[in-house]
Amino acid sequence: MNEFHSFRRAERAVLARWFFVGAFLLLTVAFFRTQVVQHERFRLRAEKNRLRIVPLAAPRGVIYDRNGLVIADNVPGYAVKLLAPSADSLRAVLARFRTVVPLDSSEVSAILVRYRQAPYQPVVVLGTGDFETVSRLEEHRAVLPGLVIQSEPRRYYPDGQAVAHLVGYVGEVSERDLETDRFPGAQLGTVVGRAGLEKEYDAELRGQPGIHYVEVNARGRLVREEDVAPTLAAIPGEAIRTTIDLALQRYIDSLWNAALPGVRGSMVALTPSGEVLALYSAPGYDPNEFVGGISTTAWRKLNDDPARPLLDRAIQTRYPPASPFKLAIAAMALKRGVATFSTHMPEPCRGGLQVGNRYFRCWKPEGHGSLDLEGAIAKSCDVYFYQLGLRIGLDAILTDGVLMGFKDRSGIDLENEIAPIYPSNAAYFDRKYGPRGWSKWGATLNFSIGQGENTQNVLNMTRFYAALASAGEAPTPYIVRRRREDVLNLGLDPDQLAGIRSALIAVVERGTAAGSRSIDLAIAGKTGTAQNSHGEDHGWFVGFAPADKPTIIVGSIMEFAEHGSNVAPYVAKVLHRYVAGPASGDAPVTIVVPADSAPRAVQIVPDSIPQVDPVADDTTPPPPPPPSGP
């Protein structure tokens, strides 16, 4: 075949050579493009293939009290995590894990849920493992592939439940918070503050997590833990200093535990400038239980407890302000000039007051006789305040009450403070009951003695007394930083304030409790009894000391305490303790104040309509946060 003459072959060989060289060049260019031009892109992709990020928890900032004592600290702890290629393999590893460290089935399913949310990250199995657990796990490492044990700083609250409602607790961020971006920078599994100061100041306390890399193979199995890639150290959170006097807070807690076990209530201590010295609510809980994830049983126990230990009764519960509110009525009357301290009312107290065709009782059936304003405050005479209230008028009571801060939250730097209920004008009643469905004087009488559509939280009432105790001004209370700079101003002149203070001293000194006051400390304050349709009435006491130049204002409510006079001794002890200092020891402070049980709130609606009962719906706590897993 002549096509195979050598010169014909040589012709084709030239063509063929070009063909092969062309193919070679094509491949060379393709590899050059992949390996040199796009090298960086593929290098990153390769790193992403083999590296898994293990976040390194940052130590949270320490929370100090005003004297540098530690409220929230960090201690060394261990986090136990598992890196699993698939849910099935995680389940298999967990089955072996349970033979080493017991986990109940609900914990296992919670772990699986968390795994599905972020399958490329190690899933937290134990938020806090002690040294013994961790060393047992280390022994069984061979049968637990993907086991990652990290030493992690662990939150610790040395005072436990004494500071529970104040400091709050920490836990893994919830999905809802992630959606709303409540915690900027938080990712799934990030530990954030879930209540109290921990939540409020989370941005400062949290710090930034570091990054540690581990290497996995194509099936997602952990191959190497150390020296895989440079580790980025965590940035610790900032410390915050609070206005809290931890010694006082502890004292309140020990007082409550010793003398009032099982009593529900709260106590708030402020300085005249609005610094919160103590904020205590009972019953409490141990915030340390939440660290590393609260167990399901403990969570259920806290939630199912009828005493609602998670509820902060200082700011998250509303109570009828009752007798302590009479000072607001007195302040309004003085401000408007409708009465002075020497004003006597037309009707002396004979145990009640006839208005129209109805008779309204004073708390003291035998009556107080004719009193001036100071006496009426001291004796907490209802009949006097009925008449004073009618003289001021409902519209003025509502307007002035709003100005005195009874409609707004105190503005403390804590989340979930409940707003008080206080109508801003009479149209509120029209809307609620219809224009003809309520009686104006009935509402007036209710407001005059702190009942009716008026419920306040303990902090709010304490703040009002802080204004009375100082120059008639009460700045926004705060623990770390003021949220608002506005100052509540009562609009009273110094003489009127001095008069109110001496009347409040009279409550303790002269009232029904004359002779049994604290020996070396002038205490001023007002008792109160809040109507409670669910059982025994709640007892109020708001007081301050020293009476002539107050440095501390304490407000307290005890549920089912029947009378404010049952609360007053404890408040007196706290006042004494603060003013005299811890060195004074537990001074034998005893005070006696009038046991003025409040009369039932006046019905302001026709008899067929049930009585207005603010307590029933106002003690409903805010919905509890969803349980955080371990």
């Binding site: 075949m1 002549n2 096509e3 195979f4 050598s6 014909r8 072959r9 040589a10 084709r12 060989a13 063509l15 063929a16 050579r17 092969f20 060289v21 193919a23 070679f24 094509l26 491949l27 060379t28 393709a30 590899f31 050059f32 493009r33 992949t34 390996q35 040199v36 796009q38 090298h39 892109r41 593929f42 290098r43 992709r45 390769a46 293939n49 083999r50 290497e215 996995v216 193979n217 194509a218 099936r219 199995r221 191959v223």
Partner: protein
């Protein structure tokens, strides 16, 4: 003084490639997790020994004997392929196919690899027996049937990669037999039609281009009309044929166009291979040190994707060395084909060149997504007994052809 020893450049190229391949195969087995690749380099060593013996035996065969044996070898090859279709089994990544022949549970090998050699022999015999090289489509029917029969049988296994090799062999051998490139183009046009028919616009343009080319090249009128009709029919058949492909084959072709369509399954190989190669950069991660290979992200790192290990561990420079070695091999074999004593030997040599080149280009091309992914081994690198043995036999034939040429005094032309 004439050198009457074996062809040194060829031996050098083959030995270097095999040594390079063995090193990479050793590295492919060095992983942090147990893979199939573990320790295969030792078995490959055994195959190398067998291969050297096989090459030495084949070296004793004269090309006259081979020419005489060609029909028998071809017939046997077809028969074995038929048997394989009936009793064949799958293995490894291609477990669903029938490409392996086994007796009593022991896998003997992949008959397709030997069928390729048989087809080369048969094509060489047929083409060298012609007085004139084929000048029109009708004269191409016979060689097309010779290559087409094993092509269809292998396609039926189904093993698209090996089937494509028959096409490569057919076209390159026809070229070497002196068939004009324009005629080859016409022969290929129905296939192009099939590919381009997935887009109406490209297909329309293609049909116009084809009409112009037919006008310029002026084949017989009947052939020209026939060709145009066939192209039209292929265009119409494209979609139904596509639907008859196995889903995994469809996916492979689709992911060739865009691997990110299905990064976890079908596109996984294409992506991971490029990631490994691309992460190698200029100098690579170092021998034995490739993380993608070590952590088993690379699929089939000892067989189909062994070249990705070169890219990851030895970088662009390592790749360039390998590509140059292959280019050197091809040019050396081309020289042997040019100097071969007779048309049959020359065609056999060029057929073997076509076999090596098709495997090389398809395999290396797919690792950088230049070619669609088909499971086809890389000569002298991939682990695999049948193909390595077939390669060694081929080298034996090449050595013989070079030897004959030297003896006949062609050597210095």
């Amino acid at each position: 003084m004439r050198n009457l020893g074996p062809d040194r450049p060829l031996i050098a190229a083959v030995v270097l490639l095999a040594a390079y391949g063995l090193l990479i195969l050793y590295s492919a087995g060095q992983t942090d997790v147990v893979t199939q690749a573990h320790g295969v380099w030792q078995r490959q060593l055994v195959w190398m020994a067998v291969g050297v013996v096989a090459a030495a035996i084949v070296f004793r065969f004269s090309f006259r004997l081979l020419e005489w044996l060609a029909p028998a070898a071809y017939g046997l090859g077809i028969l074995v392929l038929l048997v394989t279709l009936v009793v064949g089994t799958g293995q490894g990544t291609a477990a669903g196919t029938r490409s392996w022949l086994s007796i009593g549970g022991h896998q003997l090998g992949q008959p397709a690899e030997f069928a390729k050699l048989a087809a080369i022999l048969m094509l060489a015999r047929y083409l060298s027996s012609l007085r004139e090289s084929p000048r029109n489509l009708r004269e191409l029917i016979a060689p097309c049937l010779i290559a087409g029969l094993p092509f269809l049988l292998v396609l039926k296994q189904p093993d698209l990669g090996s089937a494509i090799v028959f096409i490569g062999i057919l076209f390159l051998m026809l070229f070497w037999a002196g068939v004009k490139p324009s005629l080859l183009f016409m022969l290929a046009s129905p296939g192009l039609s099939l590919l381009l028919a997935f887009n109406t616009w490209t297909w329309g343009v293609w049909m116009i281009v084809l009409a112009v080319l037919l006008f310029l090249w002026r084949p017989y009128v009947v052939e020209g009309v026939f060709l145009y009709v066939v192209n039209s029919v292929m265009g119409a058949l494209a979609i139904p044929l596509w639907q008859r492909l196995a889903p995994y084959q469809q996916n492979r072709l689709l992911t060739f166009l865009n691997p990110e369509i299905d990064p976890r399954a079908a596109g996984y190989h294409a992506i991971q291979s490029r990631v490994a190669i691309g992460s190698g950069g200029w100098f690579g991660n170092g021998f034995l040190e490739g993380p993608q290979k070590r952590l088993a992200f690379l699929p089939a790192q000892h067989t189909d994707f062994i070249f990705s290990v070169v890219g990851e561990e030895l970088g662009f420079l390592g790749v360039l060395v390998a590509l140059l070695l292959f280019l050197g091999l091809f040019l050396v074999v081309l020289r042997i084909a040019r100097r071969a004593t007779d048309p049959f030997a020359s065609l056999v040599v060029f057929g073997i060149l076509a076999l090596f080149f098709t495997h090389f280009f398809e395999n290396v091309g797919m690792t950088v997504n230049l070619m669609p992914i088909t499971g086809i081994p890389l000569p002298f690198f991939s682990y695999g007994g049948s193909f390595f043995l077939a390669s060694c036999i081929s080298v034996g034939l090449l050595l013989r052809a070079a030897w004959d040429a030297r003896l006949s005094g062609y050597a210095d032309v």
